[in-house]
Amino acid sequence: MPKVTIDDRTIEVERGTNLVDAATEAGVQIPHYCYHPRLSVVGQCRMCLVQIDGMPKLQAGCSTQVMKDGMVVRTDSPEVREAQKGMMEFFLINHPLDCPICDQAGECGLQDYAFKHGQAFSRFQYEDKRTYPGRERIPLGPNVVLNMNRCIQCTRCVRFTREVSQTGELGFFNRGARTEIGTFPGKPLDGPLASNVVDICPVGALTSTRFRFAERVWYLDKRPSLCTGCDVGCNVTLEHRRGQIRRYKPRANPEVNDFWMCDYGRSSFERYYELPRLAAPRVRRDDRVVPASWSHALEAVHQALAGGGRTAILGSGNLTTEEAWLLARLAEAAGPAAGTQAGETPAVELPLAVEQGPRWTIPNPSGGITGSGDTTPNRRGAELAGFSTAAAEGLLTGTATGYDVLFVADSDFGSPAHDEAAVERLRGTARFLVVMGWAETPLARAADVVLPVATHAEREGTFVNVEHRLQRFETAFPPPAQVRPATDALTDLLAFWDEGWRGARVADVFARMAAAVPALAGIEFEELPAQGVALATGGAVGAGAGPSGGSATVHTAEPPAGA
């Protein structure tokens, strides 16, 4: 591998690495706007100019590759600084400088580089700024708004639609100082990947319709998380303000979603604010269900399960792998009734409810990753824990009845939870109904015991995506007062049988699970790499199982335009 020296730091890089990337490896930041590692190199913002020994002129770092040993690069010489100062001035002379009303403020490439490489005064005082009258708030599609006055013509968005989403909605129109970005007549920017152009826009020219004016970004707390929209498992940064999720932004993971995610996934958190929340545990007293303490509620559940009758625990793909595995332990604890002969069907069943929706494809370096159509992120994790979609059919269609206890682990597991007739049918299958979840649904209202647990943002754990990649996400903020993460509730419940479960953290649960599940052998929760771990599938579940892949109910959501 050739050696390159950047600001006196010599490193070896792969032949053909461009100088912006090479500098990053050497720990030097070369400022840039138009360059993006997944887009073609156009060298047009001229912000990444560097000095190379033996070259008469400054060279664009993005379009200069390290091909052989001995290249000596300076990114901080007086010439480079002067050029950077000049470029910053060029960017800003016609920029509206409307930061106080601009959504991008706080995460803006112009602000950052102006601070670092610019000057504090303007020499453009006697001329009028170029404006694009009538082009200050143009909806390019349902989710993206263009303010042409703020654009710096880097064409990242144009190249994204041509090269990554391959939908080609955006173009570069007119010429020179009048150059602008736009859509073609009758062809809005409405593909499933449209909002990615907002993320890659280095300035406030492209903003998100949903996020516009919702929050100043410097008030946002950010945590690494995973999208729950489907089983692709896009890595996201969950951004919230005091427990209000404001947006998901894609977090780069070349093995999964690369730098991208779909618009559907971006809005998936909105469900937490559309449905009413379960605020406290409830227990049936005579013919009424009344608020109760956690210990009272868990005791009621324990009593029901310990009765030894016919029991089913209905799981969903919204559970974390740890939650699903704890439920399976619960089934084990509740166990077959005393005196059951070996080889008989266990009395506690673990059916898994899965719904089908649109299939999303996210481009990545290995060609892209397509969801199986599951509307939940973790069917494979639940299956790993022992849940089975095949077992759910009878329960959901109402043909299997006569249960003593039905424990539904997700009050929002799918459309039957919201349908009064389906709820009644489900209620009729069991004598005693326990519902755990975060959402107040018709199903939760029908329960004998309700256990309010954390939303996705309030818990931590792992998901296994469509390609059997195990990924971890963190707690973004704590749940409300009477609400607990499901793992806490379940370990407390398990402690009725085995005191050793009390106080187990998610990492402890994972460790015990990894020791028991061969596919997870040797994996440590705290050490899980940022890109996740590809699990040996063991042929249990085929990747990308279609709509008929053993799901209990096939419910196809409205396909999005252009999906």
């Binding site: 100019l49 001329e127 007119n174 010429r175 020179g176």
Partner: protein, 432 residues
């Protein structure tokens, strides 16, 4: 001086526009000669002649041809740059309108030398007459076995196509032209890779100017030594067309040995008009630095001498300005052109040309400030060498010379608060 026109010998001879008439006047002898040689020998002959590109950069033509890979796994192309758009330049137009076969012959020789089977002539869209003449001549050439499956019976096959531009100066920049030829938005590419490796349609491509290719048949026919006998020195050889415009009695295209003194050019076109005196001239098109007239009256008009004088020969479009010319106004107009023609992709050119036009217009209107000259100079520094293609440098050329050589004109505008010279209706009315 006993200089016999070479490139323009068929100008005003309508019969030369047919294959038969062109041959009668000695044409296609160069191609016949080339086809008898090995392709490498043809390139060597052009190398030996010292021919340098006539489009503006003055790059040695034979060397450019030799950069084309010998055995690529892709087809090779010749693209003839006939997108003559530099203000003041109109030499290629003359060659295409009056002597189309000279260009076809030059193209054919080049294609034979580099092994290209396809040639495109990218012609400026406004050149409708030249386009019609060229297309007529190409049909005639196909009919007479000059083009097509077997060029002059040699077995070497060649297709030649005309492609008309749509009115963008930037498509005269070679990679912008390739983008446009491929049907994309005409804007320059990042270099490297250079067109010799990745050019038209991703394949190795030679790009030559019309006048450059028009020289080639004569080199083959009469030899490199003859060619080298014309001109100032080893590095500046051959005949050269000078497109003279501005304040002269008889503007037009004139052919001289390269390196002829400016005084000879001026005398040849009748001198400065209306008996006025010379103030300044631009030696090589709108992007060249303006030279003070009297000081450089005897400047040899070749690549190296003009460069040494601080300007450039460029396309040899000579614009003469008399004593009544306001240079601030002239440069403001040139800046307006570059601002209008900037493709807009790279920052220094897009923003810088716009700023320069605004600034110069304000100075010309008498609203300049003392610090504006220094500001202009600094803007030039930020554009020059930092833009993606040469258009940024081109736009800087005249502005820089205004600030460096004619600074007192700016100062006078600032001091007086108005332009010292009377308004010219042509400036106010001219809008590109």
């Amino acid at each position: 001086m006993a200089f016999e026109p070479v490139l323009t010998r068929n100008v005003g001879q309508p019969e030369a526009r047919t294959v038969a008439g062109y041959k009668k006047r000695g044409g296609y002898a160069g191609l016949a000669q080339a086809l008898k040689m090995q392709p490498d020998e043809v390139t060597d002959a052009v190398k030996a002649s010292g021919l340098r590109g006539r489009g503006g950069a003055g790059f040695p033509t034979g060397m450019k041809w030799s950069f084309i890979p010998k055995d690529p796994d892709k087809p090779k192309y010749l693209v003839c740059n006939a997108d003559e758009s530099e203000p003041g330049t109109f030499k290629d137009r003359l060659l295409m309108e009056h002597d189309p076969h000279q260009l076809i012959e030059g193209c054919a020789i080049c294609c034979y030398a580099v092994g290209a089977a396809t040639c495109y002539i990218y012609i400026r869209g406004e050149y409708t007459a030249a386009l019609a003449t060229m297309e007529q001549a190409i049909r005639d050439a196909y009919d007479n076995g000059i083009l097509g499956r077997s060029v002059m019976g040699s077995g070497f096959s060649l297709d030649l196509f005309m492609h008309a531009g749509a009115g963008a100066y930037i498509c005269g920049e070679e990679t912008g032209m390739l983008e446009s030829l491929e049907g994309k938005r005409g804007q320059p590419r990042v270099k490297p890779p250079f067109p010799a490796i990745i050019g038209a349609f991703g394949a190795p491509t030679v790009i030559n100017n019309v006048e450059t290719l028009a020289n080639v048949p004569h080199i083959l026919e009469r030899g490199a030594d003859w060619f080298k006998s014309i001109g100032t020195d080893e590095r500046n050889t051959g005949p050269k067309l000078y497109a003279i415009s501005g304040h002269v009695e008889r503007p037009g295209t004139y052919e001289y040995p390269i390196g002829v003194p400016f005084r000879t050019l001026l005398d040849g076109c009748g001198g400065v008009w209306r008996g006025r005196s010379l103030k300044a001239y631009i030696p090589g098109g709108a992007s060249a630095a303006i030279l003070p007239g009297e000081q450089f009256l005897d400047l040899p008009m070749d690549f190296d001498s003009v460069a040494k004088a601080g300007s450039m020969l460029g396309s040899a479009a000579v614009m003469v300005m008399d004593e009544t010319t306001c240079l601030v106004r002239a440069v403001a107009r040139l800046s307006k052109f570059f601002n209008h023609e900037s493709c807009g992709q790279c920052t220094p050119c897009r923003e810088g040309t716009n700023w320069m036009e605004l600034l110069l217009t304000r100075i010309e209107k008498g609203q300049g400030r003392e610090q504006d000259a220094a500001l202009l100079s600094n803007i030039c520094t930020h554009i020059a060498g930092n833009s993606l293609c040469a258009l940024g440098d081109a736009a800087v050329g005249p502005v820089k010379s205004l600030v460096e050589t004619f600074l007192e004109e700016i100062d006078e505008h600032v001091r007086l608060g108005h332009c010292p010279l009377p308004p010219q209706p042509v400036f106010e009315g001219a809008s590109h």
